[in-house]
């Protein structure tokens, strides 16, 4: 609680032919946040495995082809995803063998369909244009036989028509718009026979499409239209026949395509992961982070899968002060009641691996503040009921976590409603267990400010705790959000309290409480830089530090005063209640008063509830988080093969190793007995480092020498084999 899941850094060196099995284990377990070899540091730059990108592109192509086929044959996606075996080259060969004949058949049908569709479109367009010309009593064939004139019928984009007119200004012409269709105009254009080519080029440059009037048919437009309609009926019959053919094809290939789709999905994910891996001549380097608790199980599964060949180095996450990249990812670890509130935190940012996860505190404060501002037994019950419905997913699927937040906020509103004695905006129905907000607003504001002081102090305490966790003792003591900051803050609070209570403090006391910590804060940034080996600070650094100190002091005040909104919204809630009751009393229609009461409550629950939800969130984010929460974490995104069971605490069973695994393969040049793990640092049960690995184990940090030494042991005295 309050800390992310402890992570272990993994380095796995495996032989190229073991890679698919190792990938399958990692993908089924779904517990490793993979790192790209480029992220490991300069020592690993030459290890990038560029060919994997080619394989990934190839698989992307397969996926598209299969999806295209499923779509083209009107077959749905595979029912239920399952993890297929990771064997990219085998699957690629199968896809290359099986897809082309199916594609050829499907394309034949698709081409025929396209042809018919084109024909159908052409006829539909012709019919449409003929309908526009229906009033013409001219035989279309006559237009083709004009002796001195050139005639063209075309659909001109409407916005090009004026430009076309302008372009024809130098030609003898007549441009007759006949009808409009969508954003096109059907025109008949005439010019002299000599200028026919110029007219056609002008029409073409105006992006006019030749009218689809079938000039091979003779007769008036109305007569030709009847002929076209007969052709349309024939096309429809042919389309129906083709659909039956396509259905038969789909039935014949459905199962095979589904199987291929699953194999391609699994292997596409695997080769996408491979792009992150490093490589040497015969080995592959996999780097990543995994929850430390999962590592022993993962190591055992890897050993089982690859018959004792891989070398695994496990180390706890580096100490926070080691500023080496890559940093561990953050997997939040909260007790079940706090988990729904994780979204409140992650919306703001992901906690860094080495900082306190504020989820439980933020959740508690949010619920508390919501209740303070929205204290109403009846309305709280409505909100809690809505939350409960969401947790049951009766409405709005996928909102379960939000439902729990709403339920907690509703219960908090009920509790504070009982303390204020408010039910559905009405005061007096139940006795107030504490006080009524409108009866004593000054007291309420005092309580809110005291609450604010407590929250800001808590934030400072968390910031100091974070500094200690990171080994930043200077920051703990002297930063503006550290002990000096707390000293100033409490000093200022006490001075304000004394002034309000009419007990003035002496100059010396004020200097000690406020002046001295301010002075320390003003000097601290330049001095910190100096202590940390930076350059000698100039006057500019001190001026900047003074300005920042002033800003910090103002923020302390504003952050605290901001909590007055707790009282303000609670008082406003009570005020709205009175207004609704007065309005309900003014309505003389029978039942009208009750209706106003119901509508008023609905309005308050909807609108004010939303506003208060946002305000509680705002107090969490701006007054609380900004003092200690860096939120610069990397979310934990484990590599999971499609269809693998989510949640690595109970991973899917792994199929046994292939028949004869380990026997058929050539023994390693250097003995590599079993799984090698950096026991010295990981203390991973069941993982014992072999003699070579032990000799090469590095100190803290990133195991460049270990990885390279381990990879070097496997280098061949024969040509490299492709991974598979």
């Amino acid at each position: 609680m309050c800390s992310p899941t402890p992570m272990a850094r993994l380095f796995l060196v495996t032989l190229d032919h073991d890679l698919p099995r190792a990938t399958e284990v990692l993908g089924r377990v779904g517990a490793v946040h993979l790192l790209s070899v480029d992220e490991l540091g300069p020592w690993a730059h030459g290890l990038a495995w560029e060919q994997a990108a080619g394989l990934a592109v190839q698989y992307d192509g397969y996926r598209q082809r299969i999806e295209g086929l499923l779509r083209g044959l009107a077959i749905g996606p595979p029912p239920g995803a399952a993890v297929a075996a990771v064997a990219p080259l085998t699957v690629a060969a199968r896809v290359e063998r099986r897809l082309p004949p199916i594609e050829a058949e499907a394309q034949r049908v698709a081409a025929a369909e396209r042809q018919l569709q084109e024909e159908g479109k052409r006829l539909a367009l012709a019919a449409e244009q003929l309908q526009l010309l229906a009033q013409l009593r001219v035989d279309l064939a006559e237009l083709r036989r004009l002796e001195f004139l050139h005639c063209a019928a075309a659909l001109v984009p409407q916005r090009n028509l004026e430009r076309l007119r302008g372009s024809l200004a130098g030609l003898p012409n007549a441009l007759i718009p006949l009808a409009r269709r969508e954003k096109h105009v059907l025109v008949l254009a005439f010019t002299t026979r000599e200028q026919g080519a110029a007219l056609e080029r002008a029409l073409q440059s105006a992006y006019a499409q030749p009218a689809r009037i079938p000039l091979d048919l003779a007769g008036t437009p109305a007569e030709v239209l009847r002929q076209v309609q007969a052709q349309q009926a024939q096309v429809l019959q042919q389309e129906a026949a083709l659909q039956r053919t396509r259905g038969a094809l789909a039935a014949q290939h459905r199962d095979e395509l589904w199987q291929l789709a699953q194999e391609v999905a699994t292997n596409a994910a695997a080769v996408a992961a491979w792009q992150r891996f490093g490589r040497t001549e015969r080995t592959r380097l996999i780097a990543g982070w995994a929850p430390a608790a999962v590592v022993p199980g993962l190591a055992a599964r890897l050993e089982q899968a690859v018959a004792g060949r891989p070398a695994l180095d496990v180390a706890a996450a580096p100490a926070p002060q080691v500023a080496q990249a890559p940093r561990p990812p953050t997997r939040l670890r909260n007790p079940p009641p706090a988990r729904p509130f994780e979204a409140l935190v992650t919306t703001y940012g992901i906690p860094s691996y080495d900082e306190i996860d504020p989820t439980p505190l933020a959740g508690f404060l949010f619920v508390l503040m919501f209740g303070v501002m929205f204290g109403d037994v009846g309305q709280g019950a409505v909100i809690a009921a809505a939350g409960w419905l969401l947790t049951r997913e009766i409405a709005l699927k996928g909102s379960r976590a939000f439902g729990w937040v709403l339920l907690a906020a509703g219960i908090s509103a009920i509790v504070f409603g009982a303390l204020y004695g408010t039910v559905f905006l009405t005061e007096g129905l139940i006795p107030a267990l504490w006080f009524r907000p409108l009866d004593n607003p000054t007291y309420f504001i005092q309580v809110a400010v005291i609450f604010g002081v407590a929250v800001v102090s808590l934030a400072l305490a968390l910031n100091m705790a974070n500094a200690l966790r990171n080994g930043d003792r200077l920051g703990f003591l002297l930063s503006r959000q550290g002990l000096v900051g707390l000293w100033f803050y409490w000093g200022a609070v006490y001075a304000a309290y004394a002034a309000l209570a009419g007990r003035g403090l002496g100059t010396l006391a004020l200097l000690a409480l406020i002046g001295l910590p301010l002075l320390v804060m003003a000097c601290i940034t330049p001095l910190q830089d100096l202590f940390r080996g930076g350059a000698r600070p100039g006057p500019q650094a001190f001026v900047q530090s003074v300005v920042e100190t002033f800003d910090t002091a103002v923020r302390y005040v504003s952050n605290t005063v901001s909590f007055i909104r707790l009282a303000a919204f609670a008082i406003a809630h009570a005020g709205i209640g009175i207004m609704v009751l007065i309005l309900a009393g003014l309505v003389r229609v029978p039942g009208g008063g009750a209706a106003v009461l119901v509508l008023g409550n609905a309005f308050v629950i909807g609108l004010e509830g939303l506003v208060i939800f946002i305000q509680a969130l705002r107090l969490d984010y701006y007054e609380f988080f900004t003092r200690f929460f860096r939120a610069s974490g990397i979310p934990f995104r484990p590599f999971v093969l499609p269809g693998a069971r989510r949640g690595f605490e109970r991973p899917a069973p792994l199929p046994g190793p292939p028949q004869g695994a380990g026997q058929r393969r050539r023994p390693l040049k250097t003995p590599c007995p079993g799984l090698r793990a950096g026991r010295a640092r990981s203390e991973t049960p069941g993982c014992r480092p072999g003699p070579q690995a032990q000799a090469a184990l590095p100190g803290p940090g990133f195991p460049e020498p270990w990885v390279l030494a381990m990879a070097a042991q496997y280098e061949p005295d024969r040509p490299r084999r492709h991974p598979q």
């Binding site: 024809l168 110029a198 002008a202 073409q204 440059s205």
Partner: protein, 346 residues
């Protein structure tokens, strides 16, 4: 928008104006003896930080992309400060990168270039990106790419031009359709401006349309040898000094001298001495005039859309010039040759 609404954009623009390179800095870049030396000098300018990440392989394309990224960033910063019609106009102006990207993709698809190679040519638009790049790059043909544009405004003009592409197997009709449609839409945004905003915008953007029309006229007439009707249809009906009458007279001119004589001043005066020069030199001369015009506009009343557009033109000219200088240095061109192709005055 009045002075108060332009306070923020103007302040942002003035701040960025100060970061434009001084003529002596550009002169030093042009005079640099080698690409490495030019890069060293460029690193000392405000572009240094943006270029640092792109310098790894010494390739020119990543540097060009990095420079374009700064340009897009400049657009973005100004767009965020603007409101209403001026914002719409500047946002539409930014879209000319999108038009260039579509052309690059269509050319790549037509020539069978690999997706990675095409992608490397695209302008990194970041949060302003609207194109479905993955679908476009994976499209098996030009026609499929056009269909992949879906509801974007480019789909219609390209769809209308597609039958011609299919018939002629030339990208020319597609690219012209795309340009004409885009610049018409941009002009419609300009016409939505009101009062002084519109006057300033017409002056700077209208002059840009003039330059476009003149360079297209030159290209269609001299390179493609199109008929007068075609040229008229392939030019824009908008501009500052070049109108339909000018275009009609220019299209019917018998030769280059006649075409130039049909143009209004200052274009006639700019092009007359360049009669034997290449189209690139003529285009550069026209763009240098635009650069001067933009600077003159910036010296005037500041609280108007024209000032923002003028600054953007200066920035765009600077990025063009930097790319030209680096390309020139890479291919070992003499300084005078590089300078003649720049869009800004040194």
């Amino acid at each position: 928008m009045g002075a108060s609404q332009y306070a923020r954009p103007n302040a942002a623009m003035r701040a960025m104006l100060g970061a434009l390179l001084a003529p002596q800095e550009k002169r030093a870049l042009v005079a640099a003896p080698s690409l490495e030396d030019a890069m060293r000098r460029l690193r000392a300018t405000p572009y240094g930080r943006d270029l640092a990440v792109a310098e790894a392989g010494g390739e020119l394309l990543p540097l060009e992309k990095a420079l374009q990224r700064t340009l897009v960033g400049t657009y973005g910063r100004l767009i965020r400060t603007l409101e209403g019609a001026p914002r719409d106009l500047v946002e539409e102006l930014l879209r000319h990168f999108e038009v260039d990207d579509i052309k690059a993709i269509l050319r790549g698809l037509a020539t069978g270039a690999p997706a990675a190679k095409i992608r490397a040519l695209l302008v990194p638009l970041g949060r302003w990106e609207r194109l479905p790049l993955e679908r476009l790059l994976a499209a098996p043909s030009v026609a499929e790419a056009v269909r992949a544009l879906g509801r974007l405004p480019y789909a219609r003009p390209l769809g209308e031009a597609l039958p011609r592409y299919e018939a002629e197997r030339s990208l020319f009709p597609l690219e012209v359709a795309l340009d004409l449609d885009y610049f018409r839409r941009l002009w419609a945004r300009l016409e939505a401006l009101s009062g002084g905003d519109r006057v300033g915008a017409v002056r700077i953007l209208g002059a840009r349309y003039d330059v476009l029309n003149v360079t297209w006229l030159l290209r269609y007439k001299l390179t493609y040898r199109l008929s007068a009707q075609e040229i008229f249809n392939y030019t824009l009906p908008h501009g500052y000094r070049v109108d339909d009458g000018v275009i009609r007279r220019a299209t019917t001119a018998g030769d280059l001298a006649g075409l130039i004589a049909a143009l209004p001043q200052p274009y006639r005066g700019l092009l007359a001495p360049l009669e034997g020069a290449s189209l690139a030199h003529m285009e550069a001369a026209l763009c240098r005039y635009l650069w001067h015009d933009a600077r003159a506009l910036l010296a005037g009343y500041p609280f108007q859309a024209g000032a923002i557009l003028a600054y953007l033109h200066l920035k765009e000219a600077e990025v063009h010039d930097l790319v030209a200088i680096l390309a020139g240095k890479r291919s070992g061109r003499p300084a005078a040759e590089i300078e003649a192709l720049l869009w800004s005055e040194l």
